[in-house]
Amino acid sequence: MDSLATVIVAMLAGSLRVSTPFLFVSLGECLTEKSGRINLGNEGALVLGAMVAYATSYETGSPWCGVLAAAFAGLLLGGLHGAICSMTRINDVAMGIAFMLAGTGIAFFFGKPYVQPSAPLLPGIPFGFWLESPRFANALMVSPLFILGVAAAFALHWFFRTTRMGLRIRIVGDSQDAALALGLPINRTRLLATGCGSALAGIGGAFLSLCYPGSWNEGLSSGQGLMAVALVVFARWNPINCVYASLLFGAAGALGPSLQTVGFTWGYYLFYAAPYVVTLVVLIITAKGGQSLRGMPGQLSIGR
C-alpha cells in the first residue's frame, strides 16, 4: 500500500517535471501551426536551447541568463526555418526535419566542452515547505519554468482571442484566400509565429538542462520536440488544452522512474516507452478514418 502511494506521489511529482518541456514545445508548435505551418525543427530548437542554456549558465553563473539565451537561440533557428519556408515550393515538413538534424548537430558540436562541468541550475520553488515528510515536500518542489509555462498557455489563449496579432495569425493559418483579400502579410506573419514558437521550444530545452534532469549531455532529449506535434493534435490546437495534454504525457513519462523508486525491477524499462505508446494511441484515436480534425488550421500542409 505504501509503495503504491509512493508510486502515485512520484508520478505526480514526475509529471510536473517531465511535462514542462512538453508544455513549452507544444505551445511553440501550437503557435506555429496556428499560422498554417508545421515546424518539426522544434526538436532541434529544444536540444540547441538545452545546450545554450547550460553553457550560458556555466559561463555567466546566472541560470536565468541561460533561459534567455536558450529562447534567443530558438528564435534564431525558428526564424531561419520561417524565412526559408517563405520561399516558394519549399516544404515545411522536409525543412523541419533538416532543422531538427541541424539543431541537434550544432548543439552536439558546440556542447562537447560542457558535458563535464556543472553549471548553476534553476532553483525550484518549495511549495511543500509545510509538509513534514521530506519525500512529499520534495515532490512539491516546482520549477519556476513550469509556472511560467502555464502562464504562457493562458497568455497565448488570450492572445489568440483578443489581440490583432493573434487574430491575424489565425486568419493566415485558416484561410489564405481571406488573408490575401484582407491584404495581410502572410509570409511575415508565419515567420514571426515560427520564430516565437521555436523560442518557446528553446525555453523547453533550458528546462531539460537547468532543472530536470539538470545536466547537459547528448542523450538529453528523448524526442519531446517531435511528440509535441502529436500533443498539439491531441490538444486540438488550444493552448490551454496543451497544459492538460502535457501533464498526461508527463505522467506517462514519469511512470518508468516511479516504478523504479519502489524497487520494481522487472521490465521497468518497458514503462519508459509509455510516452511513445501514448503518442501512438493519441494519434490513432484522433485520426478516425475519413474525418477532418476539428479545430485544425485550414492551411496546415498535413490537412490539405
Binding site: T162, A178, L182, G183, G290
Partner: protein, 508 residues
C-alpha cells in the same frame, strides 16, 4: 456613421485595356455605372468581366484607360486605394475565415483594428450596427457553420460595415436557392434604390437581370459588346450581345420515355459524419434505363459525398448499392464489368492525371483490358494512340498534340476529353456532377447534348448539379437532397422551381 458618407457613388471606366503577355484580356472597354442603381455586367466565361472589375478594384493595373469616381478622375493602383474610395467586392468564393466568428471576421476586416480588442464594446457596437441592417446575421457563430445563403449575406453586411458605397457582386446567386437568390437580390436592389449603395452584379443569368437589374454592360471576348437599360432590352438582345448570335443553342431533344428497368438502386446508404457535418443518409434512390435523374440541392448537402461513394472515392458505412441488380462497390473490376462511368466535377482533379499525356488519360478506363476483356500486361500503345485520335476527332478536342500533358489543355477541352473517355463503348450507368461548370455557352450546349444523346441511347444517367436550370432542363425526374437525405422526389415535367427551392432549404 455620419450621413455625409452615406451616399452611393457612381463609377465610370473609359477605354480600359489590359494585356497578359501576348493575350489581350480587355481592349477599349467602357462602362458607366450610375449612382444608386443595380448594374449588370454580362458576358460568357472568359469575356473579361472579372478582369474589368479587378482593374476597378486595384487588383490589376489597367494598361490603358481611365477611371472616374463621382465624375472625378482617380488612379487606383492597390486594393487599398479602392478601399479608401469606398469601392468593394464580394467574391464568388467567400473570403470569410471559417474558424472565426462573424464578429471576429467583421472586426478584422477593418483597416484600423486596435492592438488589443475590447470584445465587449466591439460586440455592443456591432449589435448597434446590425440593427440598422436590412438583414440579420448571427454575430457569435463561426462563419464556417453558416449556410451558403447566410455567408453571402454576411459578406454583404461586411462590405456595408466597411462603409463601402460601391459594391461588386461576383455571380452572387450561384450557390443560393431560388428563394435565397430572390430575397438577397431584392434586398440589394432596395439598398441601391434607397440611395445608400451602387451595385454591380456579374452574372450570366438573364432571368435575374430582367428582374433585378436597372442597366447592363455586356462584354464579349474582351471587348465592349453593348449596353443599355434593361427596360428597353429583351432577352434576345442580351443573348445576341453575349454570344454574338441572336439565339442561344437549342435545348437537346429528349427522345422516348424512361424504361421501367432499374439500373441503379441505392438502399439505406450511410456515411460517417465529418466534424459536425452530417454524413449521407439516403434511404432509397433509383435510376432507370433511358432516364436522367437530377439531384438538386444547395451545395454541401451530401451531393458530393454521394458522388464520391458512387465513384469509389469515399467508403460507405452501411447500406447497399446495386447496378443491374448486382452489388456494386465502385471497384475498377466492378465498374468495368457493369459498365458504370463517372464524369466528376473538376475533371482535371478528379478524373485525370494532369502530368500524363492526352493519349494516356483517354485510355485510363481501358488500358489494362484487351479487346476480349482479358487482363492486359503489355500496353498496346499503337491502339491507345489510334483510339485517342478518333476520340479527339469525334469530340473536337483542341490540343497542340495528343502527347502533351492533359494539364495544359483549357478547361473546356479537359471536359471534352473526360466526356469522350467516359462515353466510350457500352455505358449502362453514367454518373455526372456539375458537367458545365465554367464552360462557355457553346461548350455547355455540346456537353448537355452528349449527355442527352447517351440517355436517348438507353443509358441511365444520375445528374448531380448545383445549377437548378440545368437540372430542370435535362432531367426526367428530380430528387432533392438536404442534410444528406433525399427529401423530395418529383417528375421534372411541370416542376416548379420555387417548390424545389423550398425543399432544398429543408422546409416542405
Amino acid at each position: 456613421m455620419n450621413d455625409a458618407t452615406m451616399h452611393a457613388i457612381g463609377v465610370e471606366a473609359i477605354g480600359i485595356g489590359k494585356r497578359f503577355g501576348a493575350f489581350n484580356a480587355l481592349s477599349d472597354v467602357s462602362m458607366k455605372v450610375h449612382p444608386a442603381t443595380v448594374h449588370g455586367l454580362l458576358g460568357e466565361n472568359g469575356a473579361g468581366k472579372s478582369t474589368l472589375v479587378k482593374c476597378l478594384l486595384g487588383y490589376y493595373r489597367a494598361d490603358e484607360g481611365s477611371l472616374l469616381v463621382d465624375d472625378k478622375e482617380v488612379t487606383i493602383e492597390r486594393p487599398a486605394d479602392a478601399d479608401a474610395l469606398g469601392l468593394g467586392m464580394v467574391y464568388q468564393h467567400f473570403t470569410l475565415v471559417p474558424s472565426m466568428t462573424v464578429a471576429e471576421n467583421l472586426v478584422m476586416a477593418r483597416r484600423n483594428v486596435p492592438g488589443v480588442i475590447d470584445w465587449r464594446s466591439e460586440l455592443a457596437q456591432l449589435e448597434d450596427f446590425m440593427r440598422g441592417m436590412p438583414f440579420k446575421v448571427p454575430l457569435t457563430v463561426e462563419a464556417g457553420s453558416l449556410a451558403a445563403g447566410e455567408r453571402q449575406k454576411t459578406e454583404i453586411v461586411k462590405q456595408l460595415y466597411l462603409q463601402r458605397r460601391f459594391l461588386v457582386l461576383d455571380e452572387p446567386t450561384s450557390v443560393l436557392t431560388p428563394q435565397e437568390a430572390d430575397e438577397m437580390l431584392g434586398l440589394v436592389r432596395d439598398l441601391a434604390h434607397s440611395g445608400q449603395l451602387t451595385i454591380v452584379i456579374i452574372t450570366h443569368k438573364l432571368k435575374e437581370v430582367a428582374k433585378f437589374v436597372d442597366e447592363v454592360t455586356v462584354l464579349r471576348r474582351g471587348k465592349f459588346a453593348g449596353a443599355g437599360l434593361v427596360r428597353s432590352l429583351g432577352p434576345t438582345d442580351l443573348t445576341a450581345m453575349m454570344i454574338g448570335e441572336p439565339h442561344a443553342p437549342a435545348d437537346p431533344e429528349r427522345l422516348g420515355a424512361p424504361v421501367n428497368e432499374v439500373r441503379l438502386e441505392v438502399r439505406d446508404l450511410r456515411t460517417a459524419n465529418d466534424g459536425g457535418r452530417a454524413g449521407l443518409s439516403v434511404d432509397h434512390l433509383t435510376v432507370n434505363a433511358h432516364e436522367i435523374v437530377g439531384i438538386a440541392g444547395v451545395s454541401g448537402n451530401g451531393q458530393k459525398d454521394l458522388l464520391e461513394v458512387l465513384g469509389g472515392q469515399q467508403p460507405m458505412q452501411s447500406g447497399t448499392i446495386a447496378v443491374d441488380g448486382t452489388p456494386y462497390g465502385a471497384t475498377r473490376a466492378e465498374s468495368q464489368a457493369l459498365h458504370v462511368r463517372v464524369l466528376p466535377e473538376e475533371p482535371l482533379r478528379n478524373g485525370c492525371v494532369p502530368g500524363m499525356s492526352v493519349v494516356d488519360n483517354l485510355a485510363l478506363r481501358s488500358f489494362d483490358r484487351g479487346e476480349t476483356k482479358t487482363p492486359r500486361r503489355w500496353l498496346d500503345r499503337a491502339g491507345m494512340a489510334a483510339r485517342a485520335r478518333s476520340m479527339i476527332q469525334a469530340y473536337g478536342i483542341r490540343a497542340p498534340s495528343a502527347e502533351v500533358p492533359i494539364g495544359v489543355l483549357s478547361g473546356g477541352n479537359v471536359q471534352r476529353c473526360v466526356l469522350a473517355r467516359e462515353l466510350d463503348g457500352v455505358v449502362r450507368l453514367l454518373i455526372v456532377a456539375n458537367p458545365c461548370f465554367g464552360l462557355d455557352v457553346k461548350a455547355v450546349a455540346e456537353t448537355r447534348a452528349r449527355i442527352m444523346a447517351a440517355r436517348n441511347a438507353g443509358t441511365a444517367v444520375l445528374l448531380i448539379s448545383e445549377d437548378l436550370d440545368e437540372i430542370m432542363e435535362l432531367s426526367d425526374r428530380i430528387v432533392v437532397m438536404h442534410g444528406g437525405k433525399v427529401v423530395h422526389e418529383m417528375p421534372a415535367a411541370g416542376a416548379d422551381p420555387q417548390e424545389i427551392g423550398k425543399h432544398m432549404l429543408g422546409h416542405g
